[in-house]
C-alpha cells in the first residue's frame, strides 16, 4: 500500500478570480497515511485550493489526481463519493437537523437505495438505514458527542459544532480527509484536544490534509508541510524545515509588518 504512490497529486493547478490569481501553478502530493498541512498567510490560496480539490470550482488549468485517477472536472458529489470528504472553515452543519441526523448524512455515500427504493421501502432500505445509524453513532462516540445525538445541531456551541462536522466527515468513511482550519475559533484546550483527535483519525488509516493559519496546531501533528504565499508554493518539507525557512518567515512577518 505504501509503495510510494501518492494518494493525491496536485499538478500545476491554476485558478483566477477576475484577474486575481488565487492559485498560481501549485504542485504537491499527499501520501497515504500522512498528515499534510497547508499553511500560509491570509489570501495565500489555501481554501481556494481545497475548493478546487473538492470540486466546488473548476480549475483554470492543471490537473488533480486521486489514486491515479483524474478528479478535476468532476462534480463535488462525485469526488466525495470517491472518498475525499472535507470540513469547512466556517462550520457548515445542517442546523435544523439533529446532531445524529447530520452525521447520518455523512454516511449518505455508503448507502445505495435511491428515490424509488425509498418511496416503496424496498427490502434492504431498512437494513441499510440501520447500518447508517450505527456508523453515525460510532462516529459520535469517537468524537465524544454520543450523548448530544438528539440535539438540534444549530444549538451547539462552536467547538462542539466542529466536532459534529468532523464526525459527519468521518461517517463518510473517507480515504482522504480535508480539514479547513479546524482549529479556527477554538480555545487552547479545545485545540489541543482536536490535535489528539486528528492523530487518532490518522491511526484509523485516514490520510489527512489540513489547512492551518497560525501554525500552532500544524507543527505538532503534521508529517509534512506545504507553505503557500500569494497563490504560489514557497516551501515544502518537515515542520522543522518550514519553521526555519526564510521565505516562510518573510511571508508571515511581511504580513504582520504591514
Amino acid at each position: 500500500m505504501k509503495g510510494g504512490k501518492p494518494l493525491l497529486e496536485i499538478r500545476n493547478v491554476k485558478k483566477s478570480f477576475g484577474g486575481i490569481r488565487a492559485v498560481d501553478g501549485v504542485s504537491f502530493e499527499v501520501n497515504p497515511g500522512r498528515i499534510k498541512a497547508i499553511i500560509g498567510p491570509n489570501g495565500a490560496g489555501k481554501t481556494t485550493l481545497f475548493n478546487l480539490i473538492s470540486g466546488l470550482y473548476p480549475l483554470d488549468s492543471g490537473e488533480i489526481r486521486f489514486k491515479g485517477r483524474r478528479i478535476s472536472g468532476l462534480k463535488p458529489h462525485r469526488i466525495a463519493s470517491m472518498g475525499i470528504v472535507r470540513t469547512f472553515q466556517n462550520v457548515r452543519l445542517f442546523p435544523e437537523m439533529t446532531v445524529l441526523e447530520n452525521v447520518m448524512v455523512g454516511a449518505h455515500r455508503l448507502g445505495k437505495s435511491g428515490f424509488l427504493a425509498s418511496i416503496f421501502k424496498l427490502p434492504g432500505t431498512v437494513r441499510e438505514e440501520r447500518r447508517i445509524r450505527e456508523i453515525a453513532m460510532e462516529m459520535l462516540e469517537f468524537v465524544g458527542l454520543a450523548d448530544q445525538a438528539d440535539l438540534p445541531a444549530g444549538e451547539l456551541p462552536l467547538g462542539r459544532q466542529r466536532l459534529v462536522e468532523l464526525a459527519r466527515a468521518l461517517a463518510a468513511r473517507p480515504e482522504l480527509l480535508l480539514l479547513d482550519e479546524p482549529a479556527a475559533g477554538l480555545n487552547i484546550k479545545e485545540t489541543e484536544e482536536l490535535g489528539e483527535l486528528i492523530v487518532r483519525i490518522r491511526e484509523r488509516g485516514v490520510t489527512i490534509a489540513l489547512i492551518d493559519h497560525d501554525m500552532s496546531l500544524v507543527m505538532d501533528i503534521s508529517d509534512e508541510v506545504v507553505a503557500l504565499n500569494e497563490g504560489r508554493k514557497i516551501a515544502e518539507g518537515t515542520p522543522e524545515e518550514i519553521r526555519s525557512n526564510p521565505l516562510v518567515i518573510k511571508a508571515y512577518l511581511g504580513e504582520e509588518g504591514l
Binding site: S54, P76, V85, F94, H108, F115, S118, I119
Partner: protein, 318 residues
C-alpha cells in the same frame, strides 16, 4: 415514530370523517367540501416535500394540476379512453413535462426559482386558455366521463370522497417512507446547506429533480381525479391564484412537516366555506392570514402547536 402514528391517525381519521356528517340534511355538501380538502392535500403534500423538506419553492404547481386534469379529460373525451387508463397516461405525461422543465429551472435558487416556476405556470395557463380547438371552447372541456368501479359510475359525493381518500392514503404512505429514508434525509440536508450536502456525496441536482417530479405527479393525480369528478373543467381554475393558494396552505400549516401542510390545507379550504361573508375578499383574507402567520408563527400552525406542547412539557418538568 411520530410520523408513523400521525400517518395512521390521518388515514383512519379521514376514513371516518364522513360518518360525522351522515345524519345532517346537508351531509352531501360537507362530504363535497371534505373531498376538495383531500384532493388539495394530495397536491400540498407533494409541495411540502418540495418546499418544506427539500427547500425548493414552486409557484407553478397549479399547472401540474391542470395538466393532469386536461390530459386525463382529453384522453377520455377525445379518445374515449377509460378514466383508469387516461389517468396514468396523463400523470406520466405531466411527469415528463416536469422533468423537462425541472432540469433548467432547478438550477435557480430562491426568488429566481419562484419567478421561473411562476413563469412556467403562466405558460401552461395560456396554452390551456388559447388552444381552444383542443381544450374545448372558452366554456371549457365538457362531458368528461366519471370513474367506474365494479360497473358502477362514481358520481355520488361519498364514492368520490373514498376514491380520493384511497389516493391520498397511498400518497401519504409514499411520502412518509421517503421522509424517513436516506433520501429524505438528504433532501433536508439540501435544504439546510446545499454546498455541504454536495460535498458529502449527495447528488443535489438529481434529488431536487426527483422530488420536483414527484410533487408534479401528485398534482397530476389530483388533477385527473378532479376532472373525472366534475365532468367539466375550465382553464381559469388552473391559474396563478391556485398556485399561490397551494403555497399558502403549505406555509400556513407549517413547512417543517408534511402534517403541517395537511392542516393548512384543511383550514384554508374549510375557512371560506364557513366565512362566506368574505367571498369577494377571499384572496385578501388569504393574504392577511399569510402575513399574520409569518409574523406571529413563522413555522405555521403546526409549529405553533409544537411550541405550545413544548412549553407545557417544560411546565410539567418544572
Amino acid at each position: 415514530m411520530r410520523d408513523k402514528q400521525l400517518l395512521l391517525a390521518v388515514i383512519i381519521g379521514s376514513a371516518l370523517a364522513p360518518l360525522a356528517t351522515l345524519p345532517a340534511e346537508s351531509g352531501g355538501y360537507y362530504v363535497r367540501v371534505m373531498n376538495v380538502i383531500l384532493l388539495y392535500c394530495i397536491i400540498t403534500s407533494g409541495l411540502s416535500l418540495l418546499m418544506g423538506y427539500a427547500g425548493q419553492i414552486s409557484l407553478g404547481h397549479a399547472a401540474f394540476f391542470g395538466l393532469g386534469a386536461y390530459g386525463s379529460g382529453l384522453l377520455a373525451v377525445k379518445l374515449s379512453l377509460s378514466p383508469w387508463l387516461a389517468m396514468p397516461i396523463a400523470v406520466l405525461g405531466t411527469a415528463l413535462v416536469a422533468a423537462a422543465v425541472g432540469v433548467p429551472v432547478l438550477k435557480l435558487k430562491g426568488h429566481y426559482l419562484a419567478m421561473a416556476t411562476l413563469g412556467f405556470g403562466e405558460i401552461i395557463y395560456v396554452f390551456l386558455k388559447e388552444l381552444n380547438w383542443l381544450t374545448g371552447d372558452p366554456a371549457g372541456l365538457i362531458g368528461i366521463p366519471p370513474f367506474k368501479l365494479f360497473g358502477r359510475e362514481l358520481i355520488s359525493s361519498i364514492s368520490q370522497y373514498y376514491l380520493t381518500w384511497a389516493f391520498l392514503s397511498a400518497v401519504l404512505l409514499i411520502s412518509v417512507s421517503l421522509i424517513r429514508s436516506r433520501i429524505g434525509r438528504a433532501l433536508r440536508a439540501i435544504h439546510g446547506d446545499e454546498l455541504a450536502a454536495g460535498a458529502l456525496g449527495v447528488d443535489v441536482s438529481r434529488l431536487k429533480l426527483q422530488v420536483f417530479v414527484l410533487s408534479a405527479v401528485y398534482g397530476a393525480v389530483a388533477g385527473s381525479l378532479y376532472a373525472h369528478f366534475e365532468g367539466f373543467i375550465g382553464y381559469s381554475t388552473f391559474g396563478l391564484m391556485l398556485s399561490i393558494k397551494l403555497v399558502t396552505m403549505v406555509v400556513i400549516g407549517g413547512m417543517s412537516s408534511i402534517w403541517g401542510a395537511l392542516l393548512g390545507t384543511a383550514v384554508l379550504t374549510a375557512l371560506p366555506q364557513f366565512l362566506t361573508v368574505f367571498k369577494e375578499f377571499e384572496m385578501a383574507v388569504y393574504g392577511a392570514i399569510l402575513i399574520g402567520t409569518m409574523i406571529f408563527s413563522p413555522k405555521g400552525i403546526a409549529g405553533a402547536l409544537a411550541r405550545r406542547r413544548g412549553v407545557e412539557r417544560g411546565k410539567a418538568a418544572a
